[in-house]
């Protein structure tokens, strides 16, 4: 983008969250054979999607908004369409009603680095926005992308923690409070503060930020993964007081529940008491 007012970002996995209501009664009323076949077909597909260059996350959601959340990671955008189309042909979908989704791409924001790159190029002899300047700019951004630490974060698999909370968010564009009208330095300062508060929860939570502008109805998606569901409350409440969130954060619906592994899909579908499922989940890790 090379625009001094706009932070650059790095992108990794394309991500598709899908939320479904599950008709437990209807599925339970099928013959054992039919249920086994529907389950096996779903397992085959999910395993193959995971085996391909991507990942698949499954979670049992609490509340009426959804029963099941599937998180697809794909190296290319087209992989999301492939995952969606293939899943929607499964017999299992006779008992799953899609009720929400979110399309985004894993994103590392570069507020600090962008400012530094503009500063460095400002002291070079290159004419701003000349093709040499553009090339130098792009190279510096690209160097960020290939740093081992960033590459690892951009292509990390879905964190195997027991609980997940997903929510979409926007930065406010109100009549007097408008994130996008603020000077770059002020936004950068608030993002640093925001990050500091996040880091006080280091070790307790793994956070995945993805960008959805141009693809979905909110600007970003946030996935939180933790071993204790109370951590979601403590983290999100604490952050609500930091300036970037208190004044500029607008939040969508929260989708929270318990992750389980692909082999446990049958247990989830059969509805054999979730605690059992969860013990197994814990054991598997």
């Amino acid at each position: 983008m090379r625009n001094p007012n706009v932070p650059e970002s790095l992108e990794g996995w394309w991500i598709l969250h899908r939320m479904f209501s599950f008709d437990r009664r209807g599925f339970g009323a099928l013959s054992g054979k039919k249920r086994a076949r529907a389950t096996d077909d779903a397992l085959d597909l999910l395993n193959s999607l995971k085996a391909e260059d991507g990942d698949v996350g499954l979670a049992q959601i609490v509340g009426h908004k959804a029963d099941l959340m599937i998180t697809h990671y794909a190296r290319a955008y087209d992989g999301l369409a492939h995952a969606q189309g293939a899943f929607d042909r499964l017999e299992l979908t006779d008992h799953l009603v899609p009720c929400e989704s979110f399309t985004s791409v894993l994103e590392l924001g570069l507020y600090d680095a962008t400012a530094k790159i503009h500063d460095e190029l400002g002291t070079s002899n290159l004419k701003p926005h000349s093709s040499e300047w553009n090339a130098a700019f792009d190279q510096k951004v690209s160097r960020q992308k290939s740093s081992p630490r960033n590459a690892e974060r951009l292509w990390a698999k879905i964190p195997p923690r027991r609980y997940v909370s997903f929510y979409p968010m926007d930065k406010k564009r109100g009549e007097s409070v408008n994130w996008y009208s603020l000077p770059y330095a002020e936004r950068a300062r608030m993002m640093v503060e925001h990050g500091k508060i996040g880091r006080t929860f280091h070790g307790l939570v793994t956070q995945v930020i993805s960008g959805a502008i141009g693809h979905d109805d909110w600007e970003w998606g946030v996935d939180l993964y933790a071993d204790d569901p109370l951590v979601f409350k403590k983290l999100v409440y604490t952050m609500r007081f930091d300036e970037a969130s208190a004044r500029f954060g607008e939040f969508g619906r929260f989708w929270t529940g318990m992750q389980f592994t692909i082999p446990q899909l049958g247990v989830f579908l059969a509805g054999e008491a979730s605690p059992a499922l969860l013990e197994q989940t814990a054991a598997l890790r």
Copy 2:
């Protein structure tokens, strides 16, 4: 959280409210045998959920938004998922359509205590946010949790009063009126005022506050329990004038109705005149 801008809180029961529309005509059209079986299965499950380490509340809701509200208390979050999954496999759910829910955890806010702890530690020799300071901080919070009075409130069962009103709420984050941008002392002062008004209804109403940040679409849930349904109107109206509510409260939908006991489920399902049901409820207590 140990952040001087953020009040600490204590957490007790995990709580799941579920609201359902009940197809009285469809259920009534089943054979007596089928109805009895569906009722007995539901009774068995609800009794076992109550017998486990938790509680189950049932209420007949007035109006079109729902006919039945079930309130689940569970010691662990996973217990909510278990309750939901098990209930959704009941034959009875063929005639219950889930239309709303709310996931939260019973919460005691500590505006005053948090300020005192920061003050006490401020006069100690501990370096702020050092591991010693953190340990001292956590110990002081933990002491609050184990105080008999707090422990009793955190793990109290659902109040057995005849009427219940549930609603979710947020603190406003407007462009100029923003709870989360206020200084700690100002928020603490308003919460004290708010509490005082609540206490003028002492004895007439039992209030249960639960926190949902990170788990559901509103920040808090409020359950009011009373023996006279007019008390809900008087209390909520009075509170609407106190500063914390007048300027900063944002309220969701209200779900109000009459509690009944698990053994009365059959009466509710058969729809034998509610007054009879309610007389029984009164007698049972």
Copy 3:
């Protein structure tokens, strides 16, 4: 409530408005015998609800939002639940889809009287909020309730006028325009102005105000009854300019139509031209 910032109020009938879509085609396709039975059962129930200590209003609503509005009056809140549960077991409900409702209690606001009571007690020797003061306060409010004029208004039956318009409303709590942050005297002044404008329509319209705070999603419900449907437009438009409404009124959806009597239910259900129905309605009164 005894709070000098909060106007006292008197409460009469508990009120439940229920709006339904009517499947005229489906009902018309039943055999004459089935239709007669469904109609007779409904008549029996509505007559018995009216004969009990309460009232029942019926109205044919114009537009797609609903075809039928039932207004239940009951002396006790439990009576609303009873009316709802009993109606929902009628065969007729196979062709009625509930699409809206409103639960409230008939209310007389006491802005003036409350101020006077506080003034009177302020010049007494009683210690404010002592038990003697409270008793004196409650006695004065109670005296209002038993005044013949107020008692008559609190327990008046549904006005038998040909047209009805129902809508719910709130007082605004915006960031700068906030009814609940205003001084008592300013609110009282605006309510007096508001009442004066209403009185310029004296004789043309009968108004029933009910309070829903703590029970439903809006703070108040307003029923207007008139012999000329144009009066609704003239009255509501005129009021929109008075300060209490212009600046502080927030209005929900409007449900407007023609009342008919219980014996006319069959005519409504058969759909024999509404004009005929209306002539009969006029004749009956």
Copy 4:
């Protein structure tokens, strides 16, 4: 209303807009005989409604919001209920789903005339709001109503132009921008400006304004009729810049499409290419 702050208005036809989704596939799957019968029954009803003292407009709507819009004009409000009830018993409605409606009454606003009447009476010797004053006031308004030009506009039939665009609107009541808090003269000035802009489209468009306050969820309905659908865009865009609209207009959904005549209903239902239908429409006029 006789209130110097409130413009008087004249009212003509009662108007009911009804929007329906049409299940073309389901209707097309009926036997030819059934389709013919359903079509004929609908034609009979629509013709009789038009022959009565009123009018019936039909339009094919573009987009997913609706396929068919019916506009009923009736001399009395009860006629709208009659039209609705009778139409809803048609066999055709098995394949029409009502998805929106708007109830209103054709209205001529009298901003200028009202001010003049108050001025005239102010210089008379009548005591304001005495019964003589009221009688004089009403007589002057009534004289407006019976003027031939106004009477013609109040009772004009639906303009037989090829295209129609309907939308509801409100005047804004924001926290700082509030139409209903403005002085009369300022509102009158803006309405004059608004009218002037409308007149630059004279001949290109016929506009019908109707008032819905007290009857439906928006304050006014606007119907635009034109021979060129691009005119809707040019007119509404131009008006959006005039002060009354730019600052105070709030607009609902837009329902735009092509009018056709009652005899063409069969063509619409059979779905024989709309262009053919439209050629016929053009020819018929």
Copy 5:
């Protein structure tokens, strides 16, 4: 419009976007023969619509909001109605549920040119808004329309790029931030800035702007076409910081996915892995 406060615009294709949910399971359960017939009928219609004076775009949408987006271009508005009516009679629509649509007309805004025309005529001797002045004005606008560059843009076919993102938008009319209350020159300046940022993405994206005022619920529609779906994110994010968007843009839902050609419809419907589909799409171009 000839109003110095209102920019003129040129209009080309009428455009109808239609979004559908596709019931893959239901369609897949049909016999091969039925599927072939339904597919062939759809192909025939789409080909004929494309062969007529217009265009047809198809896209597989990612997420739950829709599975298929069809974009119709027609020289006349009536062509949109024709396309909709004809498509809705296809057997295929038994498995397609319309869930959104947008009706608009391709538009080139003339902020600069309009100002110039008013300036030129201001220095002429013509009396403003006389019939000579109007004729001169219209001639100058018309000259813009027939310029080869504009004519090409007004009647360009749907860009054959692999990815598409569609979203509707408004210009804000808030209480203090109101696009339509700004002076012409200020709006013109911001539109120039906005255009400059768009041009930094030259070659990477093809943008189609269409106007919907008077026809649909948003003022404009934006279609972006690109060979890399990440470009949508980069472009829309960058633009969000320019003043016209940051302060005045209000955005609807985003509909993003992969275009495919009419001959590939069968592949889409059969759901044979989207990657294969996409390889073919790439090859076809």
